[in-house]
Amino acid sequence: RDFNERCAQCSEVNWGLTDGGRFYCRSCHNVTERTREVVNTDFISNTRVQTISKGLRKQEQNDGGCEWYVCEGFQLVLKKQAEALEALGVCPQMKDEILCNFWRRYLQKSKQAYCNRPAGETVKTLSVCDSSTDVESEPERPSLLHLLSLSESEGDLQTDCSFASSTSKVSESTSVCSGSVDGSLYLMKNQKEKLRMTMPMTLSFCYMALLWLREPMTLSDLLRFVVEGHIPYLNVFKHFPEKMKLCGLDLKIFCVESWPVYEEVYNKMLELAVFLDLPRFPDITDSCFLHPDMLCMKYLMEANLPDELHNWTCRVVKKICIGEVDFLTLVPGNKSSRKVKYDVLAAAVIVVALKLLFLLDDHYEWLLSDFAEERNKNNKEGGPYFEFKKWYKVIKCSLDVEQKKLDEERAKYLWRCEKPLFYSARKKSKVLKRRQMVVNLQNQFGKLSGSLRPAEKPNPSSFQLSWSEENTDGSCFHGHSLKGILQEKCGLLTAMNPDYWLCTVRLCTEKLCGHLAHYRGVDFPQSYHFVLRLFSFLLRIQPSYIHDEVCVIEHKLFHKKLCKKRKHNPGLRK
């Protein structure tokens, strides 16, 4: 289209593109040697993206594949993830602008070195594995075996490196070691300074974009959608076009063998924000979804706790100033402020509020519940008083059922897909045969299991547990009143509970042991464990993370008292 030379044969200017990416004259069908310089627009929708000049590049190889770079692969992954998020209701701005720009910036910051190096050199590096003699003459080039052992992923992929020794005797095609052009280079270089892209990091990108836009999706929501299959992550190469062949080292880069871990994705996001030199993120104000007041409301609903509890969570938030804009907004690189995990924070606030009202020492909450029950008998007008015991029974029942379902889903999780991968052409037939056998066995035993394996994923939803006030069985506690456990003092309603126990008297330093506190299941009251278990389930994170946050909040809340009394007495009066 932007090629204006005259055709050598017929002197017309009427060009089209062959499948191979070469220009041909529409008048006389003369094919030229000029190929289009591209980033192939299949890979990214925004054509204003800075193109990565590839120079001469073969569009077709023997097996119908094309040359592609690792970063193009990731670009495609991000695009697919953004599309999925859009389908989930995220605004299109995220895909079209924010994520694109972040990615562009990342390419600039990290690819400076790549752009200077001509494509030819990368090709040359790969040919090392073809003949062993080169290895001897250039000792600083690591062998393929070494490359495979460098990565930090599980041992599975390592044990199949037997192919490495045999490929040295095989053909010279560059697709032997990896489908991508720079796969080996990618793994080889020490990318610490340049923040090498990984699959978990794609989620960091997504979350960062979501946070920038202040979308109503927390990191735990995002990761849950990933695990439930609504966002491409596992087997994302399914979405790669046919001509982008993956093999060899590409597997190490793009294949995922574990669920994404909250901490890892979160920390990487922080690193990324610094790396990209991003400014202060848009403000998180009290009308944002991510503000603790809002998130608490959501979690309270999901936990089937009375709406009135919200007053108390807001009070806690206000008291320790965690609702402030400056506290909540992310400023990359600001080492002095502690980084906020909005979901964990909100959950921890609710836990603290529960402790304030019910003490949760395995005695008092039950006493209070009995007390409320008594008062309920005489309470004819207005809504019922909240009884902890009733709530506990309902929630425990549901939680056990859901946990059991979740455990079974973990056991039934399928990691492989219909598009099998193989390390080298040699392994291809074996892999395909195995795949066929697996499918046969699945069919055979699937018939015997009585029901066909449901192929549909559960509908994505923001709420995992829902309670309706229309239920006549009284299992919804939203409208219940806390009056049952409150008392009037000087015209104000305060909690009857005068006590509080701290989860820990002293906070650890994160640098020493990685945690602020230690959650060893034995020492704490069962009710406390239960409440942590509930939120641990909702957020799909370890209870210890919530516990850490609870400790921090408590220390802020009782800061003055702690400074004054340096005793080991864990029970302090409010």
Binding site: K404, A411, R416, M437, V438, L441, F445, L448
Partner: protein, 412 residues
Amino acid sequence: SSHEHKLNFKKSKEVCLSYIQDAMLQKQWKRAAEFLTFYVESLEKDFSTEYMGPSEMIWRIGTEILCHHSHSSMKEFNSFIEQMKTLGVKRYLKVCLEHAFHLLCNGLIDEAYQNLSLAESWRFGEQTVIQDKEMKLIQAYRGLLDYYSWSKQKNILLEHGHDGFEDLSVEQEMHSCFRKAAVNLKEIIKIPGVWDLFVKCYVDLLEFYGDHNEARQVLNEYAYNSKFPANPNAHVYLYQFLKRHGESKKSLISALKILHDIVPSHELMIDFNTMLQKSKKRKKRRLGLEVIFAALDYAGWKENVKAWNCLARQMKQIVISGKHLDWIKQEWNSRKDWWPAFHFSRYLAKRNWQENESLSYEKAVVAGILLGKDCKYFKYISHQGCKAQVKRFRMLKKFVNKHNPVYLRISG
């Protein structure tokens, strides 16, 4: 259950496997099948660094499920097993062998034979040598099936008599089966092990074709070669063979001697005692007494009339002759503390009398001699017997009364 929110491929499959195991233990075959469908993809990552790789697991679990599931058929089973055979070369012969067993258990003898023959012809470089043991087993079982064919054809011939040339083909086939069977059976019983069925069949073949020497040698080897594990059946087979061929009492007795040592409660102890009692040699008779006492130490013999009869007979004889009372004393010494409660309680007296008069008679003889006329058992039985006016009980009463001093000498 775990509250872990991390998960990787390996852990996920481990968890899946534990669900399968739970379901199988509770015989929930549908559920086990369901989880197995999710487990099988672990084959696509079978590096088998651990001893139990997923392919072995899937083979064994799948077999169990298909055996027990109500909806599974032989056809399904066969198709499953054929896939399993391709999974692991190191396991190929084992899978073939178990497949054959399964077919045999379901009465599909021809299919089993075909499978075994096919497996026999398998060659795979080094593996053929490594899996030598399995190969021998396969050949042995094929030999067994050859024996089975031979046996069928033999019966056909014997039934129909000699009708003429129709039988010629059957006869020829029979002989060829014999040859095939003999070769394989002979091979397997060379290896130290427990080959009862194979030995029996082989001996049967040899006897039919008149090769008694070879048969005797085989049985001797099987019974007396110290490399072979101690096997009571080996001695039983040898004894039966010797008896069939009218061997001397001496050799019969020596064959049973070891059996007595290994399994004092064996049913052949009655034959043994009978032979020994009649012997002229004192040592043998002494041994006979020991044998029958030892047999009756076992609960399974408590109501065995024949055994009691043997003991009673021998004891009566000793008492009447007056010689060798010390034999009885020796045997009774280690038993006098517990035999009375074990055999001669009042409850048993009542029961024995009710259920089996002969049993109570024989036991009463023994009780009378060992415990005297005043023992509970004897008193009750003889009283009942005399009341019922059965002659032998009256005679028994007289006998025991007469020989009561003997009891005193024994118990003293």
